[in-house]
């Protein structure tokens, strides 16, 4: 149903560009892609509004508070107002900062976030580029985020930022490995890195059932990847004030936040696609469109992230490293081994 819906729009757009405006084939393709990119960015930003509101509301509910409730219905307009405030703030660059790097650092992170979104489908066929190495592309782009955090920490000329940046590098590089390994189990079962294939393979059974351990490992690793509590060592408010973005203010600070929440939505979407069946409806409830199902699953994942963040204290950096290298990586490797044996046995039985 929706495949036709979204694709009809895309086709109609392309036809209109080619026939109505007289674009060449390439130009029409490029324009359509540009419009899609805009839609993706808009999707991230709209999610951001909801997410910041949800984070404030959820954290408040966990703490027996009511959260923002002054502006708009249930405080929903608090974040747009905050953005207006942030836009009006002075853009402070520290005196001895590495100015160029300082200025582009937050934008760099935002760019990686948007690039990662290129391969993330939001429904059957609703995707910018359905690469056959989609998952690989996502992971590769995701790992470059480390560089921009490091840039932010290093260029600020602030000791707290520097320590925060260093911590980020150590943490994100360590936790990328278990995250990738945990996804490998699913990839082995599907036999493809294309995300739409992964979803198609989950028609009958979500991969969270055979890959429960991988799901847990992925969850823990992504909490560390997105720098959220209890693994938010890079920010480390209690000892590092705000970590790598201590010196940022105004809109540059807002871009850090936007990129982080964008990452959060991205990893939640990947989790829903890889483990929770993507846009497949559970229990045969197909009258609800797949797009809605995917959104529900994404927000369920986000609720989990927030629940964990607002319950646990922060872990120490050496424990974090121990946990990553000595527990998560062996577990995810063992999971790959068990999955491999399972697939082998399955093939033997089936023939």
């Amino acid at each position: 149903m929706e495949k036709s819906f979204f694709n009809t729009i895309a086709d109609a757009l392309r036809n209109w560009l080619m026939n109505g405006l007289g674009f060449s084939d390439t130009a029409a393709q490029l324009t359509a892609t540009a419009i899609w990119t805009l839609v993706v960015i808009l999707f991230i930003l709209m999610n951001l509004i909801v997410l910041v509101w949800l984070e404030r509301k959820f954290s408040a509910f966990f703490q027996q508070r009511r959260g923002p409730n002054r502006l708009g219905p249930a405080g929903f307009l608090q974040f747009p107002v905050d953005i207006v405030k942030v836009l009006g703030k002075e853009d402070i660059i520290p005196a001895n900062a590495d100015k160029t790097v300082f200025k582009i650092a937050s934008t760099c992170l935002f760019i990686t976030t948007i690039l990662a979104w290129a391969v993330i489908p939001l429904g059957d066929g609703v995707i910018l580029a359905d690469l056959n190495i989609g998952l690989f592309y996502f992971l590769a782009i995701g790992s470059t985020a480390t560089v921009s955090l490091m840039m932010g920490g290093f260029s600020s000329n602030n000791k707290y930022s520097l320590i925060g940046g260093m911590r980020t590098v150590a943490q994100m590089i360590s936790y990328e490995i278990p995250m990738i390994f945990s996804l490998l189990g699913v990839v082995m079962m599907v036999g493809s890195l294309r995300l739409s294939d992964v979803v198609a393979a989950q028609q009958n059974m979500w991969f969270i059932v055979p890959q429960a351990i991988a799901f847990l490992v992925y969850f823990v690793a992504t909490v560390a990847e997105t720098n959220r509590g209890p693994f938010d060592l890079a920010e480390g408010e209690q000892e590092l004030v705000a970590g790598y973005f201590t010196e940022y203010s105004g809109i540059r600070y807002a871009i850090w936040m936007i990129a982080e929440y964008g990452n959060l939505v991205a990893v939640s979407t990947i989790a829903s696609i890889m483990f929770l069946g993507g846009w497949n409806a559970p229990f045969g409830l197909t009258f609800i469109p797949g797009f809605v199902w995917l959104l529900l699953k994404i927000y369920f994942m986000i609720f989990l992230f927030m629940w964990v963040k607002w319950t646990y204290p922060r872990i120490r950096i050496d424990h974090l490293m121990h946990f990553g290298w000595k527990f998560l990586i062996p577990v995810s490797l063992a999971n790959i081994l068990v999955t491999g044996i399972g697939i082998y046995v399955y093939r033997l039985i089936i023939g």
């Binding site: 320590i163 480390g236 408010e237 209690q238 319950t311 204290p313 922060r314």
Partner: protein
């Protein structure tokens, strides 16, 4: 040529986790602290000097400004010292004594609730922090009901307390005290029993028995190091000899022990308040003291078990209405002295936790 060098990090005076305006200069090797130097005095208000220009009664409200999370206990210490100087400790009416114990222990509960809460915040457990402050707020409601203010009650008077308990206080207090063990259990569930928290605090900043005694630590910090001492039991002041309570003692003296000792102490405080509420007699709340207080010439040192340790007042009287000299022996000031020793060689994240575990209040350190 590439070489490494130590990083000097200025922690404070405005930093999220220095509990006020404490400044500490750290020499870091990587993120491990090589040397820490305390710098105090950012909140100095000259309270000891102020006392010399105030009459004995007029100085009572200033005590709330010392340790501003345990104002009632500070006032008690001061009025106890003046009563000792005047030699009227035996004349305080029964009811006033009981009221002092009830409010003092409530204040201790509030102070320890803040301790657990700020400990939670310093390991980034914001939710446990809110729960701690919720508990404390309900105690402050009771104190406000009695004295009219939440932080600086100005309720203790030389010779008794300012006024009798208001109507309905006993019932409200009873209800809260019956509820309080659940609140402690909740903190134990969300924070103390949490494996991440335990990993953060166990074996962090251990203080041995000898070291604790050498540095002159007092109160819960000393008990956590395994020294069995509590002024309420060892030198009972007021009517503490009538109460039977355990003195929790730690073993290793690490941060986890310091948290546990406070949790246990809260449970004991609940018991004390319960018994005091049951036994409280009717009667006057003020002893017969002259309107103008003129203690005899002489000097006195009196200390009681504050929420943070031994709080002592040394008062020198020249027979006039104002103290000639007043010296405050502050437990926080003594406890903070051990921080450079604790911080040596530990991680920056641990140093923050170790600092929080000492339970410092800058109002009392800088005075």
């Amino acid at each position: 040529m590439l070489k490494t060098q130590e990083l000097t990090l200025n922690l404070g005076p405005h930093h999220p986790s220095t509990h006020g305006v404490f400044r500490c200069v750290l020499n870091l090797e990587g993120e491990y602290i090589q040397k820490a130097v305390n710098h105090l005095g950012y909140l100095h208000r000259g309270i000891e000097k102020l006392a010399e220009s105030r009459t004995y009664t007029q100085f009572i409200p200033y005590n709330g400004r010392l340790d501003y999370v345990a104002g009632m206990l500070n006032e008690w210490t001061y009025v106890h010292a003046v009563e000792k100087l005047m030699g009227i400790t035996e004349e305080i009416p029964e009811r006033a004594q009981y009221i002092r114990v009830i409010l003092g222990e409530l204040q201790r509960l509030a102070s320890h609730a803040i301790y657990i809460a700020s400990m939670a915040l310093d390991v980034a457990g914001a939710t446990a922090w809110f729960y701690g402050f919720r508990d404390r707020d309900e105690i402050l409601d009771l104190l406000e009901m009695v004295s009219g203010q939440r932080l600086m009650p100005n309720y203790m008077r030389i010779g008794g307390v300012a006024a009798d308990l208001p109507e309905g206080f006993i019932e409200k207090c009873q209800a809260l005290i019956d509820e309080f063990p659940n609140r402690i259990a909740e903190q134990e569930g969300i924070l103390i029993g949490n494996e991440i928290f335990q990993a953060r605090v166990k074996n962090v900043g251990p203080i041995s028995k000898e070291m604790a005694l050498d540095y002159g630590l007092t109160g819960p910090n000393l008990r956590a190091s395994g020294v069995d001492t509590d002024l309420r039991r060892d030198e009972p002041y007021g009517i503490y000899d009538r109460f039977d309570f355990k003195v929790p003692v730690g073993e290793k003296g690490d941060t986890f022990d310091r948290v546990l000792v406070r949790i246990e102490e809260m449970k004991e405080s609940v018991k004390i308040v319960k018994k005091a509420l049951r036994d409280i007699p009717e009667g006057p709340v003020m002893a017969k003291v002259p309107k103008v207080i003129k203690p005899p010439v002489g000097e006195v040192y009196s200390r009681i078990e504050n929420a943070k340790g031994h709080l002592g007042f040394h008062i020198v009287s020249d027979g006039s209405t104002k103290p000639y000299r007043l010296r405050i022996y502050s437990p926080c000031f003594v406890n903070i002295g051990i921080f450079p020793e604790m911080a040596k060689g530990i991680h920056l994240m641990d140093a923050v936790v170790a600092l929080a575990s000492l339970d410092i209040v800058l109002g009392e350190i800088d005075r």
